[in-house]
Amino acid sequence: MQLTILCLEKVFKMSKPTIRIIKGGLLSTVQDTGRYEFQRYGMPVSGAMDVFSLLLANHILGNQPNAPCIETTMDGPMILFKEEAYIAICGADMQPRINDKSVENNRVIIAKPGDVLSFKGLRTGCRSYIAFAGGMQIEPVMRSSATYLPAGIGGFKGRKLVAGDEIDLAIQPVKPPDFTISNALNLVNVPKATIRIIPGPEISSFGFSSIQKLLNSDFAILPHSDRMAYRLEGAPVFPLAGKADIISSSLPFGTIQIPADGQPIIMMADRPTSGGYPRIAVVASVDLPKLAQLKPGDHIQFREISLEQAGKLYQQQMDFFTLH
């Protein structure tokens, strides 16, 4: 009888691989590539700030591209593995460790039962993505695993991860083939970045001198920047008289709005679906991952590129996944 119970226990344990959060870190949330289909109802997209790094982490493990991952911000979590698992970490370098041993971003990492994943400290970038082979068992809300924090919807109970949280991983994942990516893909390490932009729908609401200011100034990312928007500080960029408000209009990821004080706001993953400030420019999609790896205190300079160039650059960036 005892033996049967022990066997049954083992069977059930093995079929429910779980991780336990020992420490949540600053802001760790479950994200996928975003919740599309519902923006017309006012539901924001959310999802990963650095979608490329999330896709990369899933790619390394052979996951579906949209498999949910843990997005972690600046101060990483501490995670206990109750069963063996295969993970990959991409994005910021937060000096990941399994127990006392350093491990690396951008490759398959094996975690044995009882292992603890932790992060020694942020070295470059801002956000890391932890993917698990086979994905995590997250109940989708409105067909997505993305967490929309302002309304407490989706991901893991609609909130950030905290100590004591347990998440089930995929049952019996297959060990992925060993896969390492060359560091040629490195994101910008310096605290100052050039972000490429395309003139926005309301560009004609701005005079020449304002546009020049946007392109020639240095902007600092303010402390209250977050998943919803990056607020910038720099030379004020004012619209022409009478053009300060627009009728509520849609906001693509990376839209740069100019409110009354002339300080640009870049709309990020948790942005509302519509806004009322003139849209002076939109960040090129290829540079959204770079932008997501900047943090408060970092600096930005903008550079204009054409639609065609932007399209080509994004295509090249995404070609990575077909070439590797």
């Binding site: 599309y36 006012g42 919807i153 926005g200 729908p201 209009s249």
Partner: protein
């Protein structure tokens, strides 16, 4: 077939403007103003484009006078999309123009759920029941949803009760609250800060991510408020009162 960005054809097709919004989004602009005709054209455009299943399009998001097309710029681009869009028929057939999908929303007006009703009455120089009569006598067009999930921008507020918003917004407005701010009226889908004059509350959840129909109201619908008493309010609150918000089509001649 012309390929210029500003697409225009003869007779009834209005002039559309096609404006890029970054490398992965395209605006189709149907007019400069906020008007019911412009907005209906946006709804028609949305249905028309969806029916064509154009490759590369990820999502369509209507606003007051523009339709945002989000696409994957690996699979299509602005020029290809515009070439496809200018072949579509965005005319409004008379029957479609006058067809209305009306969502009826029950409201408990005044008292603790409508703290600003006395003020609205005073400002309008009407009795509270006259304010309620006026508020419930209109089919409000839903121009768009935005600002928060399920939040509808409703137009058509009777000028007599179009009271400006609060000078100091409240930090907490309970979900379901019905408010007025100038020419706009609407329902707060989530609890949070708000600056509108609150005249009542609905027990209906206009947004519920754990229900089969997440949203009860969409752009292009009309909203009609109707009076319920406190007992009915409490009863409706017990269930997720989807059944009580009756939708109905009505054809009106203008």
């Amino acid at each position: 077939m012309q390929t210029s960005i500003s697409g225009q054809s003869e007779l009834t097709q209005p002039e559309m403007k096609y404006i890029p919004a970054g490398d992965s989004a395209l605006i189709v602009k149907a007019g400069k103003d906020i008007s019911e005709i412009t907005n209906r054209r946006i709804q028609k455009m949305l249905l028309e484009i969806e029916s064509k299943q154009i490759p590369g399009i990820i999502e369509l998001v209507p606003a007051f006078n523009e339709l945002m097309i989000y696409f994957d710029c690996r699979f299509t681009n602005h020029k290809v999309l515009v070439d496809q869009l200018i072949t579509l028929d965005f005319n409004l057939l008379k029957e479609v123009l006058y067809e209305r999908n009306i969502v009826h929303i029950p409201v408990l007006y005044g008292g603790q759920f409508g703290p600003d009703l006395p003020w609205i009455a005073e400002r309008s120089k009407l009795s509270q029941s006259e304010v309620i009569d006026i508020h419930t006598s209109v089919d409000y067009p839903v121009y768009m949803l935005g600002f928060a999930p399920g939040f509808c921008y409703l137009g058509g507020v009777d000028q007599r009760i179009a009271i400006p918003r609060l000078e100091t917004p409240r930090t907490i407005v309970i979900a379901g609250s019905i408010g007025i701010a100038g020419n706009q009226t609407g329902i707060y889908p989530l609890t949070g800060p708000g600056g509108w004059q609150i005249l009542g509350r609905t027990p209906v959840k206009i947004f519920n991510p754990h229900r089969i129909s997440y949203f009860l109201i969409k752009a292009g619908d009309f909203v009609r408020f109707y009076v319920i008493d406190e007992a009915t309010f409490l009863a409706m609150q017990q269930t997720d009162a989807v059944d009580y918000s009756v939708s109905g089509k009505s054809l009106q001649n203008e």
